[in-house]
Structures are given as C-alpha cells and as structure tokens.
C-alpha cells in the first residue's frame, strides 16, 4: 500500500474519531482536514509506519486545542449525554443498540477517567496497536498495557455490579 493509499484509508477513520469527540460535523471535517494538511507539511515526512499513530495524536491535539479556543463547544462527556438522549430514537439498528449490556458498557466506559477511557476507545474503536497507542498518548507501552488491562477489569467489575 502506498503512503497515499494509507492516508486515504485513514481519512475517514480520523474523521469519525474526531467526530466521536467533538459535537459538530463541520468541526470534525475541519479538524480532519487540518490534521492531514499538517501531515503533508511535515519535514521530513512522517514514515509510513508511523502515519497512523501520528494522525491520531495530531487529531487529539487538535481537538484539545479547539476546546481551549472554543468555550462554547461542549466537553466529550457532555456530548455523550447528548448521545444518550439521541439513542432513544428509533433506528434501523435499534435491536442492536437496545441491547442493555452494550449500553451499559458504553455508559460505564464514559465513567472511567480520561486515560482509561481513551485506551479503550483507541483499542476497540480505532484498532490501534499497543505501540501506536503509546505514541498517540505519549506514554510507555507498558503503561498502555496496564491501563488497558485495568480498564477492562474495571468495566468487567462494574458490569457485574450493575447486573
């Protein structure tokens, strides 16, 4: 796969990644474009293997920056409350989403602190490797391993309690 193809494949993924974290589709589109513009302006260029992690990391930084500069934008957790309300609307995936356990897991995920939540999402929504997550979150790989394992255990316990 050429670098070009990798970038194209990642474009939509990054956009969805950002969209999950900011409320606005416009904003997501802009931040995505900004991330890719930055990617192309890197000198020397980012090596192919690192593009994915680099993009996620940049995207995260852009999201953080945009919060700082835009107080009107709600925080991630508020967004999620907003999602909860939305979810009650009928949808073609209603059966899947009505699944109580899934909803419970999502709710509980959002109760976790930022680091724990983020490793979960980077792993299971973005399918990043430990190495990539380490680069994105700027933490050692071993920390990532701990964080992820701990998050999973916490979720498991919480689900058990909730049940």
């Amino acid at each position: 796969m050429t670098k070009q193809e990798i970038e194209n494949e990642l474009y939509e993924l990054i956009q969805v990644f950002i969209l999950r974290r900011v409320r606005s589709r416009d904003k997501a589109a802009d931040l995505t474009q900004e991330a890719f513009l930055r990617l192309l302006s890197q000198v020397p260029p980012i090596v192919r293997e690192k593009i994915r992690a680099w993009l996620y990391r940049t995207a995260r930084n852009l999201i953080t920056d945009s919060y700082r500069h835009d107080e009107r934008t709600k925080t991630v957790s508020e967004n999620l409350e907003y999602l909860e309300q939305k979810k009650t609307e009928p949808d073609f995936r209603a059966v899947l989403e009505s699944n109580e356990e899934q909803k419970m897991i999502l709710d509980l995920t959002n109760e976790l602190d930022d680091d724990h939540r983020e490793v979960l999402r980077l792993k299971f929504q973005e399918n990043l490797s430990y190495q990539e997550m380490a680069e994105v979150l700027d933490k050692p790989k071993t920390t990532i391993a701990w964080l992820l394992h701990e998050s999973i255990l916490r979720l498991r316990d919480k689900v058990k309690v909730a049940k």
Binding site: E5, N8, Q15, A29, F92, I105
Partner: protein, 820 residues
C-alpha cells in the same frame, strides 16, 4: 533460570496485564508460548482468560457499535456542508479554507494532464510554501486507487447515520471529503456545463460527482464490486432488477442463470431499507456474488452436464462441492483391552443430522466425505422397536441389550445397547415456548434453505395449540423480531410472517441469538419446553467475534432453562461441526433438513421427541469383564467420548434424550481366546505372562475387587459375576434436576447359545456397517456393501425410512460398480 522464571510466573493473577495483551495478540512469540503453557497447566488461569476474553468481546462490540453523534438540526450533513461551504457565507476560518480550495481549483484547471500533475506535485512540494496543493494534486491522480482503497467498514457505518438524517437527498457515495472536493474540482474543469438544473449548487455538485464517477470508472480497471456499488447508488434503491448494462461484467460468464437468480434476490430487498441503501445493497450484492461464484464452481466441476432444460441452463447441480463444508475430523477408535481401559464412557447422542446429510450425497450419486459420516448418527436416525418404560416407571427410559456374533467378523461379538425414552402422547405434551431464530442472510437464498425453512415453519404452525407460544427472530444484516411471541392459535398471523421472510444481507448471528433468548426468557414458563430453534446454513460471519463467546452464551442460557435446537439447511456452506457443537452447548439437538419430508419428520411426527427433553446429561459407562473380553471397540460416538471419572461427575455435561427417542450404541467385542486385530504380530512382553494366565484361567477375585469400588454389587456371587460379559451403567438427570440417577444392567452371553438376531439388531448392524464402509474403516476387511444390503433387507419391515436406506445402499452398490 528458566525454571525459576516459570515458577515465578505461575503466580500469575488476574491483575496481570499480559492476559489482556495475550488476548489482543500483543505478546511476543516467546511470551505467548510461555503464557499458553501456563494456561494449559492451570485451569483457574484458563478460566480467567476465558472470562476476560468474553469481557473483551463485549466491550469491543459495545464500543464498535457506539452510535456516531447525530448532527443537530441547525447543522447540515458533513459532506453536503463541505460542499456548500464553498459558496455560502462562512465563518472566517471556513472562508479562508474555501479560498484555498478555490486556489487549488484554478490551479488544477491550468494543468489537466496527469503527467504534468506529477511534475507540479514535485515542484509544489519544493517551491510552494502552501503544501496544500500537493495533497490535492497527488490525490486527483490517484483518484481511482482511492475509490478502491477506502475503508469500507467505517465508510458504511458513517453513511448509515448520514442517510438516516437527510432523507430528501439521495444517498451520497462513500467518499472522503478530500475526494469529494477533488471530484468536484475535476468536474469543474471538464463537466460543469453538464450539471443538472438543480438550483442548489451543493446538490448539483454532488449529483455531478456521482455521474462523473460512473462514467469515469467504467473504462478503467476498477473492480466489478465497485462498479456495481456505484451503479446502484445512483439509482432509486428499491428498484428491483439489476441494470443489465454491459459494464457489469460479472454477468457475462454466468449468463441466464445469473439473471434468473439475480432479480428476485434484489427484489427481496425491502423498501424500508432504502435509507440504509448505501450499506445494504453492497452486502446483498456480495452475498449474491458469492452465490454466483458457487453456482459457477458447481457448474464448472461437472464434467458432463447431465440435464439441460429448454433454455440450455443446467438443471439442479448433481455434483456436490464439499470444500465449503466444515466437518470436524473423526479419528476411528481402535480395539482396546479391558486391562488398558476397564471402562468405556461416553455421552449419548440423539442427533441424526449425519444421515440426512449422507443421504444428500448418496442421492446425488456421490460418496460423502469420510468425516461427514458419523456412525452413531446413522444408527440413531432409524426407529427401533424397543419397549418404552411404563408411564409410572421411576426412570424415564428403558435399557435393552442384545448380543450376537458380529455380522462382519464371526469371531467377534457385537453388543447392542438400546435406550428407549418414555413416550409422551401429543395431547399430554407440555406447552411449548418456541423462538425460531431464522437466518435470513443472503446465503440462505437457495431453494433448499430459506424456502424450505418457511415450509417447515408452516408445517409446525399447524401443530401448535392455544397453550403454545411462538416467536420468530430473523437475522441477516441485522437482527429483527419478525414476530413477537404470540399464541399458537394465531395461525394466520404466524403464516403471514413466515411467508414474508426473505433472504438478504450478511449474517449477524450473534445479535439474533441474543434477541431470541431475550424473547424466550420473557415468555419463560417453568412447565413448558422453552427452546430457541436456530434455522441456518451455519454461516455466521458478522457479530460476536468467535465461537467461544457464542458457546459460552448458549451454555449459560441452557442452564437457565432455555435450550437450543439447531436445524441445518441447505448444501454448500454447511458447517456441520460448528452447528453440532453449538447445539450440544445449548442442551439441544441438531437436525439436518434437506427435504420437506425431513422437516415433517423432525417437527411434526417427532415434535415431542425433538422439543421435549425427558432426561439430560445422559452418560453411559460400560465395565468390561477382562475374563471374557480380550478387547472392545465402541462404534461411533468418537466425539462423545468421556473420561472414566466424568461418569460420576454431575457437573460434567452430556447428551439429552427426548420423549420417545431411541439411542443405540454398538460395541464390537473380541472374546478372550481370539487375537486382537492388529496385535497378532507383536511380541508379548516377557513380563505380561502372569497377567496372561489370568486371561486363560478365570480369576474371580480381581474383577470383584474392581466392581466393588465402582458398584454396590459385591453381593453378587463370583460365579455369576464371571458369567457377565460386561456391565452397563447409565447416569441421567431429570430435566430440572442437578443430581444424577443411576441405572445398571449386566450383559450375559453364552457362547453356544443359539439365539437369532432380532430385526432391530440386524438393522442397527446394517446401518453401522454402512457407516464403517463409508468411513473406510480399518476393521471391516471381510465385509462389503452387499453384506449391508443383506442385513438391511432382512430387517426392513414396513418402515419408510428403512426402505429408503435399502434403496440408497443399492444405489451405492451400483455407483461403486460403475466406478470399477
């Protein structure tokens, strides 16, 4: 050092992050081997890992299914907005972006030749401070590559959402924003005049984008899949027939057949799915293509097409392709001596799917693959006239044994153990709480799958009464409740729903199964037979990630009283091993339905047997008398083998028996004094001598001691004990019990007894022998199909199934002769 290390690591706890890393495949090969070794040694650890795996699966599923934020009402869709933003008034930041884009647009107008673009890219990178040019230019060159490489999954989920929001706009094609921009720019340079009359620039632009893509992709070598994708997206989605335009090249090699099966499949897409069109249709098409591929391969594999109808289309494929069908490997058991293994322990099995499947092969004139042949399932397919226990009897089934010289090896004996479950009269049956889980994925499209499911369901519906409840859940691309649980008397309603089922999409089996269990639990009735009945060809390919998760869930549900039966349909895609495992986990049975007759047999004639369990966890253990038995061999039940200690362990799961069911097991026995097959030429150990003398001269004490520990039988005189050939023990639980009951029966055999074989015995032998021949058994040197035929013809009686067996044996003989 290494040992130390391992000892140290044995104290691995649940808090160890390596467990997660292992499950996510993040460990190095060494670490992985090491951990796997520990898991294998430590059952607690294995349990932990399994538990963790389930948790991870659930989390992954939940997070992946997390809905994307919807746009608020004052915000338009991402993609249309991206386009509009160029012309509408915009916030400052957007405006500058728009300006940049316009700059690129003009730039590109100037260089329309692709070669120049490359040069410009290079130049732009080095000269221009605004590297943004290079993005777009490079991208425009690679436009077609881009189309193919787009990540489908994310694209779909994203667009699903979108389409459900802006209903008035035609679904946009999955394209990244950069590409949309680029496309638009291309159009701007070459096709702006061709834009439709639509006033809104955004709409006309996006429409243009689509038409551009259609025409531009046609002459290039993008895949068919993509081309169809594009074609479909430009049309109103619900329009049934495929455009037979020359560019959809998959039509060419497949011809009329494709068109024939193609249209109804597409028309099966419900109009309600229109809004999800971008997502649905490609998957329908994938399924469709898969079917075509199969048809094609079937056809190509036929050297001489046997029949042609008027239009020249090959009639139903006579050849059966097995490469797509999964069968677990079966290793034939060899003879063992009672000294090596004093006990033979196995779980009963009332499944009959193997015979129905073998019949499919034989009818088509083929020999079934060896691993599709399960001896016990052939033997148990047929009805035997064993006496049922009295209605008042304590035990829910009766045990019968019969011993005679083995029909295919006169020196050996063959012991038949027959179990007959209590009959429950139809009018006395408990109410049924049934949830049918019907696979409506595209692979179920063929005539012997979903249409047969529908007919089978219709047959069953006629049997239901006011006491019963039935629900239907379907799963294709998504799981849906087609019929929420209704009373069995609402026949018209049920039939309406059944007739409305249609095949499409991929197979989200897991979501469906969950929904089905939910409904079954909602209607749970302690006195009823609560059952989920899965009708499928076994193609689970979306949803719960692995078999283990699925099995765990099914097991859990079975413990709570909702059992799972599986009806396998169709040919190709037939995943025998998988379905059998799943139904075993669910305390259920598993049948293969190839004809409407078979459906009637399972669901109408044997309704009580199929759906009402009278005993569960039924295990058989046979204790062989080493003074009479030099070696023994159980025919079939290879995958039902249990360890001797599992017999008395009530926690160990085993097979279920339904009302009126018969179960037959056959032991081939080598009496003392006859050489064990395969051991004739082996020297005997010089130390074995003392043991050998035991064989010659009966020693009563030894077996008695053994029996003592196993059975409360010590009161039996040693003389009588020694006359026993073997001792059959059966453990079972009542359907709602957790403690097992024990039944026992000694088996005697007098060498010179002149006892004729019963016709049940002969027929069981015939079916087993047929299976052994089909499996190419190493233990039937002197027997052939004619022996099978003779045994079967002697015992066929008036039974329809037995008559069919005889016919198929005859057919097999003819086929074999032809081969030679």
């Amino acid at each position: 050092m290494n040992d130390n290390n391992q000892n140290h690591e044995k104290k691995i706890t649940i808090a160890d992050p390596r467990l997660t890393a292992y499950l996510l495949n993040e460990l190095s090969a060494d670490e992985k081997d090491n951990l796997e070794k520990q898991i294998a040694e430590n059952s607690d650890l294995a349990k932990m890992v399994a538990d963790l795996e389930i948790t991870i699966g659930a989390i992954r599923q939940a997070l992946q299914n997390e809905p994307l934020p919807e746009t608020s009402s004052n915000e338009s869709d991402l993609f249309p907005k991206a386009v509009e933003s160029e012309t509408d008034s915009l916030p400052v930041a957007e405006e500058t972006l728009a300006k940049r884009r316009k700059g690129r647009w003009r730039f590109k107008m100037a260089i329309s030749v692709a070669v120049l673009v490359f040069i410009a890219v290079t130049v732009a990178i080095f000269i221009d401070s605004g590297k943004r040019y290079s993005i777009d230019l490079a991208r425009s060159v690679n436009n077609d590559v881009i189309n193919e490489q787009n990540n489908e999954v994310s694209r779909r989920s994203f667009y699903n959402r979108q389409n459900s929001i802006d209903i008035d706009e035609k679904p946009l094609e999955p394209k990244s924003r950069l590409e949309v921009l680029k496309q638009k720019e291309l159009i701007g340079s070459s096709r702006i005049n061709a834009s439709p009359t639509d006033q809104k620039s955004s709409k006309s632009n996006s429409a243009n984008t689509r038409s551009e893509k259609m025409t531009s992709s046609a002459p290039q070598d993008s895949t068919n899949a993509q081309r169809l994708d594009l074609d479909l997206n430009t049309k109103p989605v619900a329009s049934p027939p495929m455009p037979s335009s020359p560019e959809s090249s998959i039509q060419a090699p497949i011809g009329e057949n494709r068109t024939m099966s193609g249209s109804p499949l597409l028309s099966a897409v419900e109009p309600s799915m229109t809004n999800d069109g971008g997502n649905m249709l490609p998957s329908v098409l994938n399924e469709e293509r898969a079917i075509f591929r199969k048809e094609k391969s079937v056809r190509e594999s036929i050297m001489k097409p046997q029949k042609k109808n008027d239009s020249g289309v090959t009639a139903v494929a006579p050849q059966i392709i097995v490469e797509n069908e999964g069968y677990a490997k079966i290793a034939e058991k060899s003879f063992v001596t009672p000294k090596e293994e004093p006990f033979s322990t196995f779980s009963i099995d009332v499944d009959t799917a193997s015979w129905a499947n073998i019949r499919r092969f034989l009818t088509a004139g083929n020999r079934p693959p060896e691993d599709a042949v399960k001896i016990e399932e052939i033997v148990n397919y047929f009805k035997y006239d064993y006496k049922a226990p009295d209605e008042k009897a304590k035990d829910p089934f009766a045990v019968h044994t019969e011993t005679a010289p083995c029909p295919w090896c006169a020196d050996h004996l063959l012991v038949k153990i027959g179990i007959k479950g209590k009959e429950i009269k139809l009018e006395k049956r408990p109410p049924l709480n049934l949830v049918f889980l019907v696979d409506t994925s595209g692979s179920m499209y063929s005539e012997n799958k979903l249409p047969l499911v529908k007919k089978s369901l219709a047959e069953l519906t006629e049997m239901l009464t006011v006491k019963d409840r039935i629900a239907i859940v379907t799963y294709g691309s998504d799981a849906r409740v087609a019929l929420d649980s209704v009373s069995g008397t609402e026949t018209a309603h049920i039939l309406d729903v059944v007739n409305g089922l249609s095949a499409r999409g991929s197979t989200a089996g897991a979501a469906g199964i969950k929904t089905a269990y939910q409904i079954a639990r909602k209607q749970f009735d302690k006195t009823a037979a609560n059952r989920v009945i899965l009708c499928t060809d076994g193609d689970f390919n979306v949803g719960m990630t692995n078999n283990q998760d699925l099995e765990k869930m099914i097991e859990k549900e079975a413990k709570s009283g909702v059992y799972l039966s599986i009806l396998g349909f169709g040919m190709g895609n037939y995943k025998d091993d998988r379905l059998a495992t799943l139904s075993n986990r669910g305390n259920g049975n598993y049948g293969y339905i190839d004809t409407l007759d078979e459906a009637r047999r399972l669901l109408v004639q044997n309704l009580t047997g199929t759906l009402i369990t009278i005993a569960k966890d039924v295990k058989i253990q046979v204790d062989f008398n080493p003074n009479r038995v030099a070696g023994y061999r159980l025919l079939g039940y290879e995958d039902r083998h249990l360890a001797a200690e599992d017999f008395n362990n009530d926690k160990k799961d085993a097979g279920e028996i339904g009302a009126g069911h018969t179960v037959t097991a056959l032991y081939e026995i080598v009496p003392v004094g006859v050489d064990l097959p395969g051991t004739g030429r082996i020297d005997q150990s010089r130390y074995a001598e003392t043991n050998n003398s035991d064989n010659g001269k009966p020693d009563a004490k030894k077996p008695e001691e053994k029996k003592d520990s196993a059975k409360p039988n010590s009161s039996v005189s040693s003389e009588k004990l020694n006359a026993e050939l073997m001792f059959v023990k059966i453990r079972y639980k009542q359907p709602d019990a957790t403690k097992s009951n024990l039944m026992t029966a000694p088996v005697f055999y007098k060498k010179d007894a002149k006892v004729g074989m019963s016709s049940d015995y002969k027929f069981a032998c015939a079916t087993a022998l047929f299976g052994l021949i089909l499996r190419d058994s190493a233990y039937i040197e002197n027997a052939g199909l004619t022996d099978v035929l003779k045994l079967a013809e002697d015992s066929v009686g008036n039974d329809k199934d037995r008559k069919e067996f005889v016919e198929l044996v005859k057919k097999a003989i003819i086929n074999k002769d032809r081969e030679q």
